[in-house]
Symmetry: none
Subunit: 197 residues, 4 copies
């Protein structure tokens, strides 16, 4: 018989919680909701995460690490900065389509519930794996002469604000076209915004 290991159980909770939180929001999702979705008793949930808040924090770290790794892979590829921008946009939108809960969690849960992520996630602690890879991307681009040397956060805000904004519009079903059909124009806009003139 295939036993379910403690680690697998935890993963099950992470997956279920990610979906529920991103769909219904942090406060509307209850611990019983999560437990039911994993097929577990409420009491047992607390053997894996000591509180709902802790779970929420672990989820950000999980996503941040996941996205960080994806960007790292792109950073390592021997391609131009313009191509990297395209690759990041494509990767981001692919995730937004295939595992929307990851991006949505970021946008709707992490970015909006200060109270929850206050302690333990001050500043950028919980999203540093992701942010630092974006720094690498930007510094590389500047170094090889493709990108203008500007304050990192101005570039970062453009890049992530833009992508986040688009995913948001898509989520609201406001976009007339499918998300990925915007990849080219968005990549172009970003490149135009950041490149040396």
């Amino acid at each position: 018989m295939a036993r379910i290991s403690k680690e697998e159980r935890k993963e099950g909770i992470v997956t279920a919680a990610l979906k529920l939180f991103s769909e219904k929001g942090f406060y509307v999702t209850t611990v019983p909701d999560i437990a039911a979705k994993v097929g577990m008793s409420v009491g047992n949930f607390y053997n894996y995460f000591t509180s709902k808040d802790i779970l929420a924090k672990e989820l950000v770290m999980f996503i941040s690490t996941y996205l960080g790794e994806k960007i790292q892979e792109i950073n390592k590829e021997p391609i131009s900065t313009q191509e990297k921008i395209s690759a990041i946009v494509t990767m981001y939108f692919t995730i937004a389509v295939e595992r929307p809960e990851m991006i949505e969690y970021f946008l709707r849960v992490y970015l909006s519930n200060r109270e929850v992520f206050g302690e333990g996630c001050e500043g950028m602690i919980c999203i540093s794996p992701f942010v630092s890879e974006m720094m690498v991307f930007f510094n590389d681009g500047v170094e090889c002469g493709d990108l203008r040397n500007q304050e990192f956060f101005s570039a970062f805000g453009l890049f992530m604000g833009y992508l986040g904004g688009m995913v948001f519009l898509a989520g609201e079903k406001i976009l007339p076209e499918a998300l990925n059909s915007y990849e080219a124009s968005i990549s172009e806009n970003i490149y135009n915004a950041l490149r040396v003139n």
Copy 2:
């Protein structure tokens, strides 16, 4: 005796709720909190707004109208598209600094709590005053040959995602400089992204 009109009472609630919701979040703010801040009884609150959700929706309309008017003023000015971009960025950041609750409400309450704004705010109903002025800005820019003719939402996502992202970073105290010190570089990035090449 100076009587307080029904309309003034409503405004008082709007102001108080805007601050509380944007600071503490929609779910953490209670109706008693709001009533207390206005100096009104809980029961009386319900004479002005039939539910907490309704209040939240009226707040978006309020902000959206407010921002729409500001952009309309800029649209009417006889200045270049590049200057309009600057003006919008400056206006947005000025509000973000002087009345942060307006922008924060948008970012942290409206954009993140689908459940609340579901009924009655489908699609862009509740933010149309604002979005349509941005459309005017964009169409004017294209028409006069300053901006590339692309899908509106791609440009909109860039503009608002970028600005929202920066305000968010500022709110998290992540930005090394004051928000307004980024105005020039951001305006430049946006213009570069959208202009005809």
Copy 3:
């Protein structure tokens, strides 16, 4: 129609809680239990006492004040120390018989649940009205030459430990006779213990 004032409501809770806590113990008594006994909803209970712990603390103060007043009356009477001892013993046992919850609360709830009375009741804060009247009694007795001058707490421990112990034995139905039939022998024992030889 006779309206129930806020103060009366609070008294109702005090009375009900005193009975329940003393009969079933602090932890076994639930807030729903208390609310049900007063004929009130759980939610409303919290309009009167912000927590179960706070209620417990107010109860000690209530009892301590009540007992303090009783002893004060006795202290004021123009009788001998020996007669005062008798009067205190009688008063104590009368309460123990007529309003047993008061004494039992003291013995079984206050004295035994440090965790609950920790904050806000350090040392003797919550029982000072009672203790200070016992101090008055003792000092008067010493001053008029009836009682040996010894460390107050040694005398206090004797007096209250003894009375508490007897009420406890009575509560356990261990005593072969009714509590008040011990009044004479107990008063005598106490007087013999404390008087000048």
Copy 4:
């Protein structure tokens, strides 16, 4: 290899539980707490004690037997009643200082949680080893003409109520002096209270 016998395991639980119950109270101490302190799994705990309540009852018996033996030793000694009183007081305070958990358990757990000790400890069943030795002490004292012949429980209440009260005051850090510095005055008070005039 030094094997740990079943009996030793049980003793380990008794020791750990005694400390935890007396420090934190019966309800605040959890079975996992106890198991952790013994270095044993929760499941295994139930191989030794079939419930938390049963454990609590065995603890009273344990303490009662222990105290009973101590008093028996004193009873056997060829000393005066007055000296026996002193010896008991000293013995009691020594235990209160060296193994405070025993006395505290008695005062704070056994005496205060009727619900727990209801079944199986009715009346004095669970403390009879101790009480009967106190009876022996008292009867001997009366028989040899040292103590007044009064109802046993009146004398018992004085003795144990007094000692318990003092240990309680000490535990609350209310006593200005160390517990043992009161031994003389307390013994004197008790003797004065009980002796023939």
